[in-house]
């Protein structure tokens, strides 16, 4: 119980810190943010109007309190470009990003599990070398390279999937594959390492000695214990997945939050940039905290061990 409370408290501190950092992002704009947003040729009256609309004419302390107050009411301000409430725009884009991230997670698990298990069970076999090759490739080929290559092969040459956009389940395949491969590479390597470690344990020898079939030994005895570190890794890698989603969405014109960030940057719509970064980061913090807490509930050693 103490562990869960401490974990929750630290998450609250981190969330507050993230909010502060995102708030100060707009003050990093070199020179006058209003001038950067409107361009040098804007009329002084327009500049003043925007400055007041953004509250940039107020003392910075008041600006910060207004910003926090807005967040509490899920009021993220108005987009400079479309003049619509930012929270509406985010809600429109969120489902596409969630869909892509979950599909990529699924792809990663579907590739990593068979590959990781096969390469650990048949160490130094063809499977092992194949898994090594996949994981090296997954690390060395970034998603902005893999994406175009997949488009070339499966959309342009074979014509199996659409080149870009989000229409029907077919359009999800290539983006999910692009985003999930890097995670699959890391995951399969991790699974192989932990599984090899577990396979040397005494209880595995016992299980084999009492005549259980190799299948039961691996799937029921070894894999279960090898899974815990893998699940932790999955939680940690979710951040890389959400970050990578930005680039993948741009490659495939996938209408999610990532593409929104880039569009907002190109249009110098800084309040929208802030809101996107905030939403993606907060999602990550919340999911990570929940993973940690679920993990603590599942594994008593963490609750008791506390500080480890």
């Amino acid at each position: 119980m103490y562990y869960l409370l401490a974990r929750l408290l630290s998450a609250v501190v981190v969330i507050f810190g993230v909010m502060c950092l995102v708030f100060f992002l707009i003050h990093l704009v070199p020179g006058d943010p209003v001038e950067v947003m409107l361009g040098e040729s804007a009329r002084p009256a327009d500049r003043e109007a925007l400055r007041q609309a953004l509250g940039l004419d107020l003392p910075i302390g008041v600006q910060f309190l207004n910003y926090l107050n807005g967040l509490l009411h899920f009021d993220l301000g108005t987009s400079l470009h479309s003049q619509r409430p930012i929270s509406d725009i985010l809600l429109e884009r969120l489902p596409a990003t969630l869909e892509l991230s979950l599909a990529a997670l699924l792809v990663a698990v579907l590739i990593a599990f068979p590959l990781g298990v096969l390469s650990a069970v048949h160490k130094d076999s063809v499977w092992d070398h194949l898994a090594m090759g996949v994981s090296l490739g997954g690390v060395a080929i970034p998603n902005f390279l893999l994406g175009p290559l997949l488009i070339l092969a499966f959309s342009l040459w074979l014509g199996w999937f659409p080149v870009s956009g989000r229409e029907g389940p077919g359009s999800l395949v290539l983006p999910a594959l692009t985003l999930g491969t890097a995670l699959a590479a890391i995951l399969s390597r991790m699974l192989r390492a932990t599984l090899l470690e577990v396979l040397n344990e005494d209880y595995i020898r016992t299980a084999r000695a009492k005549g259980l079939s190799p299948r039961v030994v691996i799937w029921k005895h070894a894999l279960r214990n090898a899974l815990l570190p893998v699940i932790t890794l999955l939680g940690l890698q979710l951040g890389a997945l959400l970050g990578g989603a930005v680039i993948t969405e741009v490659v495939f014109s996938w209408p999610g939050l990532g593409q929104l960030v880039i569009e907002a940057i190109q249009r110098r719509d800084y309040p929208l940039v802030q809101a996107c970064v905030l939403l993606i980061s907060l999602t990550y913090v919340v999911v990570n905290t929940l993973t940690d807490m679920a993990y603590a509930v599942a594994d008593p050693r963490i609750r008791v061990g506390g500080s480890q």
Binding site: L21, V36, I247, S281
Partner: protein, 268 residues
């Protein structure tokens, strides 16, 4: 065979990358010169790696892109390793409130997923190679700080540190002479993997149009430009793509080698 694949070949790739970056400006290459008749020309006899959509030589642009990625990688890894090590080591050694605040700040930076904070920073600071370095360093120092902090925490109660303390050594001297040499190995390994990460991140930012600006070449920007001509000129993506993948793979393999050699168990 394993030695060739795991050591000499990657080493050759990295040396070639560094040479291209350092000697590139002095070679008789013209990455910005436009040859109109050669637009989208595939690799062939007169152009080793073909030409791009403006008729510029891809071979020359790959060398020029090597310069960008090498420069950014060296600067970012140097800045973030130095900054992170000093912050992490000092925080662990001083302890108390300092450490508490540092750990919180590290946690906050880690709460931003992957490259997202760098994208936001680069986007807001504006394009340009110096802002890329700034954005990636602002994100990169955290890993080194965490590592240095953990190492110093586990070492600061050792006898030789206590002995130095009793002999009247100040915190700076203890950190520099008695702790830093011991934590150097894992930091070097982290930095070598960091080079690969920065190369990918720089290319990623350039791919999004947030890195170096045209006509300067970057592998990421070349891949983005080539993606529009995938069907007619796949070499525009493949040439910078292979260069990028080879460098990243080589750096990672050398990092593995270095880790085994220095006997560092990488956490995570």
């Amino acid at each position: 065979m394993a030695r060739l694949l795991g050591l000499w070949l990657p080493l050759a790739v990295v040396v070639l990358w560094a040479l291209a970056a350092v000697l590139g400006p002095f070679l008789p290459l013209s990455p910005d010169v436009i040859h109109l008749p050669q637009i989208l020309a595939p690799p062939g006899v007169d152009a080793l790696l073909g030409h791009d959509d403006l008729g510029r030589s891809l071979a020359a642009r790959v060398v020029s892109g090597a310069q960008t990625s090498f420069l950014v990688a060296v600067w970012v890894v140097t800045i973030s390793a130095l900054l992170g090590t000093v912050i992490g080591a000092a925080s662990a050694y001083l302890g108390g409130v300092w450490d508490l605040v540092t750990v919180r700040i590290i946690d906050i930076f880690l709460a931003f997923p992957g490259i997202l904070l760098a994208i936001a920073l680069a986007g807001i600071l504006g394009p340009g190679i110096d802002n890329v370095v700034l954005a990636l360093s602002a994100v990169g120092w955290v890993g080194y700080a965490r590592l240095a902090r953990a190492q110093v925490l586990s070492l600061k109660h050792r006898e030789h540190v206590q002995a130095a303390l009793v002999l009247g050594a100040g915190p700076v001297r203890i950190l520099r002479c008695h702790l830093l040499p011991l934590i150097l190995a894992p930091l070097i390994v982290e930095a070598s993997f960091g080079v690969a990460g920065v190369v990918i991140a720089e290319a990623g930012l350039s791919f999004l149009g947030l890195g170096v600006q045209p006509p300067a070449a970057s592998w990421g920007a070349m891949i983005r430009d080539g993606a529009r001509y995938l069907l007619v000129a796949p070499h525009m993506v493949l040439v910078p793509g292979v260069a990028l993948a080879l460098v990243v793979l080589a750096v990672n393999l050398l990092g593995d080698r270095l880790r085994d050699r220095l006997d560092v168990r990488r956490e995570r």
